[in-house]
Amino acid sequence: MNRHRRGWHRLCLALVVLAAAPAAPAAAPLVAAASDLRFALDEVAAKFARDTGDTVRIVYGSSGNFRHQIAEGAPFELFLSADEALVLALAKEGRTVDEGVLYAVGRIVLVVPEGSPLKPDPRLQDLALAVADGRVRKFAIANPEHAPYGRAAQEALTATGAWDAIRPRLVFGENVAQAAQFALSGSAQGGIVALSLALAPGVLGTARHAVIPEGMHRPLLQRMVLTKRAGATARAFYAYLQQPAARAVLKRYGFALPGE
């Protein structure tokens, strides 16, 4: 009985120690980033860590969700949106230090996974035909309600006149990275996603893509802003993102850069 009891005490002690241990080492600043940046920004953050010794914690998601989370008091210090309207709305509500800066202009692509009967045609002409003749059963885009890349996809599909026909076939990702994952999962015949994701390592190898002409959707003006919570590291990362080293990475992922 006594030995039994000692065992219990030891277990309880171990549990208390585990529960009390800090979950995160130091509080590296939190960055909310649009999902189209998933691979590009990881690279920039790694470069930033090498150059300065400071780290940031990046959360990827849909810009529309982040806009609401920041308004609700989420502890993000920097917000990289895929749609500048969301940043400007937060600035108007007094949640940010200023109106931020434009850091990139995004492009959308039609992605076609290996073995799909769909042609990677930039003007989406084949897509409308493919819906009609049954070659496309499922097609992935991000949710246009709150994901800027989803809205751009909807605009492009509307511009080609394919929107009404394709609507029953659409699967919606919560953000553009999930849409890309759906599009390339093999269960869909294609999707419209960010060029930056189609250029990511690993993904490019299996899928063909065609860049959709700029005129087919409103430009994806991507603006970033420091929130009222921003500390020194977040400010340094914000400045770093506007330096040539970071810009070169963004350019490699297919973003057009402001001032070029």
């Binding site: 241990a21 914690r57 308004a71 008091g73």
Partner: protein
């Protein structure tokens, strides 16, 4: 494999168990021993998280704990940081959505204790508190173990509520279940697969333990009858 997310999940699960087991003992014993008109309603309210879609629960928690709510404002004034999108908020949510997992096994265990035994204890001069510690809890330990294990396992697995009130913040609210979702979106199927296998194994262990304890309890009753 996301070690930070795993550690966070374990901490969340452990703290939830530590908070909920005493709650489960008090509420379970109360429901097992008292008969009153509103009891079905009280039981239904405690059982709600079992049937309510996690997003519905998440929505109400978000509204109740958000920066604009009285609770959220009070908390921010007291601590300087908001309740939603923090570990504290996640813990509060976790305690609420695990209520039935802690209360129900304990209620069943207390119900299984013959009423005569409790009467005998009080006749011998034991207070209700002494009776709980010396007579009832030693008899209800299988229920206690089930409650702890189920609460622990369910916390590790909860997704919808955590996503809505937590916001997937590394080291703060990004649990293993959320990390799996995130890895899939990052095209890291190997990482997602490893974490999924780990949760699968943990769940199998947890469920086995609860079936083992309930079988033991049944056998004990069969021999007692």
């Amino acid at each position: 494999m996301d070690g930070a997310a795993l550690l966070l999940s374990l901490q969340l699960a452990l703290l939830t168990v530590v908070i909920l087991v005493p709650v489960g003992i008090v509420a379970g014993r109360w429901l097992a021993t008292r008969d009153f008109m509103a009891r079905p309603l009280v039981e239904a309210i405690f059982a709600l998280p079992l049937v309510l879609p996690p997003t519905v629960l998440g929505y109400y928690l978000l509204v109740a704990m958000g920066a604009a709510s009285p609770v959220g404002r009070w908390y921010e004034a007291a601590t300087g940081h908001p309740l939603v999108f923090t570990f504290d908020g996640l813990l509060l949510a976790s305690v609420i959505f695990n209520l039935p997992f802690a209360i129900q096994p304990l209620q069943r265990a207390f119900e299984a204790i013959p009423e005569d035994l409790r009467h005998a204890a009080s006749c011998c001069g034991l207070t209700s508190w002494q009776s709980l510690w010396r007579i009832e809890l030693p008899l209800a330990w299988t229920g206690l173990l089930s409650a702890a294990v189920l609460t622990f396992a369910h916390t590790l697995g909860e997704f919808g509520v955590v996503l809505m009130v937590g916001g997937s913040i590394p080291g703060e609210t990004k649990t293993v279940a959320i990390a799996i979702y995130d890895r899939v979106q990052g095209f890291d199927m190997a990482g997602a697969g490893l974490m999924s296998a780990l949760l699968l194994a943990l769940s199998i262990v947890a469920i086995t333990v609860t079936y083992w304890t309930s079988a033991r309890q049944r056998r004990k009753h069969a021999s007692a009858d």
